[in-house]
């Protein structure tokens, strides 16, 4: 491999969306030789077949332990070292664990060349988590919406209110009890279930 050639990077990730985000980021940064492995069955032989310089894996993946075997197998020609071997860069280790990603360098690749790859992985992993959070929030907002609508319906029926009056009642109760409107709506649904 020439000094300027792009190192071959394997991404081990069962999340196709996160892997795509990572792959795109690496490509934009000029790392063009990227392979994504999403299938955990026979993971080691797949990795050996690709023969990467760097392996990136998410920390939620139990198969991280499978990679540990690569340190042991004497028959493998090229052996990896873990990012954690180098104690000199504690901040970057901390940042990668916080982001939920780990990287292994395979023999022969200079340590300095890992740094930009790792930094990019960390920022993309964080971006993915933010995306996930937003998605979760949007989902729960949608759920709240449905619950509130059903609670309004119950109030309208039981107390003969208009939709607007029902909503005002929900909101004022929530404010008085220092709770979210969604929580009050949920307790109305629960109560009406019980009283059926």
């Amino acid at each position: 491999m020439g000094a300027e050639a792009s190192p071959r990077i394997v991404i081990v990730d069962e999340s196709p969306i996160r892997a795509a985000i990572l792959q795109e980021g690496l490509r934009e940064a000029g790392f063009t030789d990227v392979v994504h492995i999403s299938e955990m069955q026979s993971l080691l032989s797949r990795i050996y077949a690709v023969d990467p310089d760097v392996i990136v894996i998410d920390l939620e993946n139990p198969s991280r332990d499978v990679l540990e075997q690569m340190f042991q197998v004497s028959r493998a020609v090229r052996r990896p070292t873990a990012m954690f071997v180098d104690q000199s860069d504690a901040a970057s280790i901390q940042a990668s664990v916080d982001a939920g990603v780990s990287a292994y360098i395979v023999d022969g690749l200079k340590k300095e060349r890992l740094k930009p790859i790792l930094d990019l992985c960390i920022s993309r992993f964080n971006a993915f988590s933010r995306l996930q959070d937003e998605l979760d929030r949007a989902k729960s907002a949608l759920e709240d919406r449905k619950v509130i609508d059903r609670a309004k319906g119950i109030l309208m029926k039981l107390k003969g209110l208009t939709e607007e009056e029902a909503y005002v009642l929900l909101r004022s109760t929530a404010m008085r009890e220092k709770k979210k409107i969604g929580e009050i709506a949920q307790s109305i649904l629960t109560a009406s279930e019980l009283l059926k």
Binding site: L67, Q69, F71, Q72, A82, A90, Q94, V97
Partner: protein, 387 residues
């Protein structure tokens, strides 16, 4: 003591002393505020302990030693003042491999020498017929499972690196891999052997207590630097785990323990499987055959929680035998010093004498283990990778 402690664990039955210490309030009674963090891989537990995200962890005893020796990873001295469990693993094989072994066996099916010799004949026959070598799964390169499996295989004449394939698999994937035929057997802790039997895809061939009478399995692992700065926390943790271990061993508490452990935030499997494990009463085959053993998993009885340096030395000797560590008196000393019976005794106000006498390793083959002469001991074994 107000700072919350973060303790990592893997969802396995031998995390019981930690889980019960927290859930039943033994930790709180010691003034500890503990948050348990469930993890998915031993690599994560080790790394998070090493960089300080965890104050303590449920950890494979050999990983604590490997970390202290700097094998493969950064060198971070770890201390183990409490054994969370002795034994507890089992070797499970596919019904096909079980039948092949039983067709060759000369002796009792619970005799590990008889099964190892039979397996060796199966391996030879497969090689002659040009079949693929057998593949066996274990959980981590530095694990008691790996060493127990290797010890058994080699005793029958099977070289674990040459004659078969030994692969690391995360425990939750073991049963599926056995069902799918990617592996022919595995050595893993509870509850996974029972789950393979319940699903009808595996037969429990051995409890590891058939192979070694006493083997340190999981320890309460703490960074040495943290332990030195926080001796009261360490002592309080040992006392809480000790009370929990005693609680777990009371027969009248076992149903409750199993129910707690079964919750999704802890182990998340059927309470009945957990109860059988704690009672050492395991269904070993799909036809419902039950095998009982008082030595299947020791949590709080027979002085199991007290770290035994002879066992640390045995684990180090296996690292040497299989080429993971080089042999030196300094490394042996470091390995032994990971196990801290002194911290255990100090926390519990004991005078340092062993309550239980059978503290030996008690392997089924080879000469009795000599912790002071690793090289001499290993010379008695023909198969190994030692340089």
């Amino acid at each position: 003591m107000t700072r919350p402690l973060h303790i990592g664990f893997i969802p396995l039955i031998d995390a019981a002393a930690l889980i019960i210490a927290v859930d039943k309030g033994f930790a709180a009674a010691e003034g500890l505020d503990v948050t348990l963090v469930r993890e998915v891989s031993w690599s994560n537990v080790r790394d998070k302990l090493n960089i300080g995200l965890f104050d303590a962890a449920h950890l494979l005893a050999p990983v604590a030693i490997a970390s202290s020796l700097g094998l493969g990873h950064i060198k971070v001295p770890i201390v183990a003042p409490f054994n969370l469990g002795l034994n507890g693993n089992a070797i499970t094989v596919s019904p096909a491999l079980d039948a092949a072994i039983m067709a060759e066996i000369d002796g009792d099916r619970f005799d590990p020498m008889a099964t190892a010799l039979a397996l060796s004949r199966v391996v030879t026959a497969r090689r002659r017929s040009g079949a693929e070598p057998l593949t066996l799964g274990m959980t981590f390169p530095f694990s008691t499972h790996n060493y127990q499996l290797r010890f058994w295989l080699a005793a029958g004449g099977v070289d674990p690196d040459e004659d078969i394939r030994l692969v690391v698999l995360p425990p939750p994937y073991m049963v599926d891999s056995l069902a799918g035929g990617q592996i022919d057997g595995f050595c893993v802790g509870a509850p996974w052997n029972s789950i393979a039997v319940d699903r009808g895809v595996g037969q429990i061939l051995h409890f590891v207590s058939d192979i070694l009478v006493r083997a340190a399995e999981k320890v309460l692992a703490i960074r040495q630097s943290w332990a030195e700065k926080n001796p009261q926390h360490v002592a309080a943790l040992v006392r809480a785990a000790s009370r929990a271990a005693e609680f777990i061993e009371q027969p009248q508490n076992r149903t409750e323990v199993a129910r707690i452990m079964a919750r999704p935030e802890y182990v998340g499997v059927d309470a009945d499987v957990i109860l059988r494990t704690l009672e050492g009463r395991l269904k070993i085959s799909a036809d419902g055959t039950i095998r009982g053993s008082s030595r299947y998993l020791l949590v709080g009885r027979e002085d199991a929680p007290r770290p035994d340096r002879v066992q640390a030395a045995w684990l180090y000797a296996q690292m040497v035998r299989w080429g993971q560590a080089s042999i030196s008196p300094e490394s042996l000393m470091t390995a032994k010093a990971v196990f801290r019976p002194d911290l255990y005794d100090a926390a519990l106000g004991r005078d340092g004498t062993r309550i239980h006498e059978s503290h030996a390793v008690g392997a089924f083959a080879g000469p009795a283990f000599d912790a002071d002469d690793i090289a001499g001991h290993l010379a008695a074994f023909r198969i190994g990778r030692k340089s």
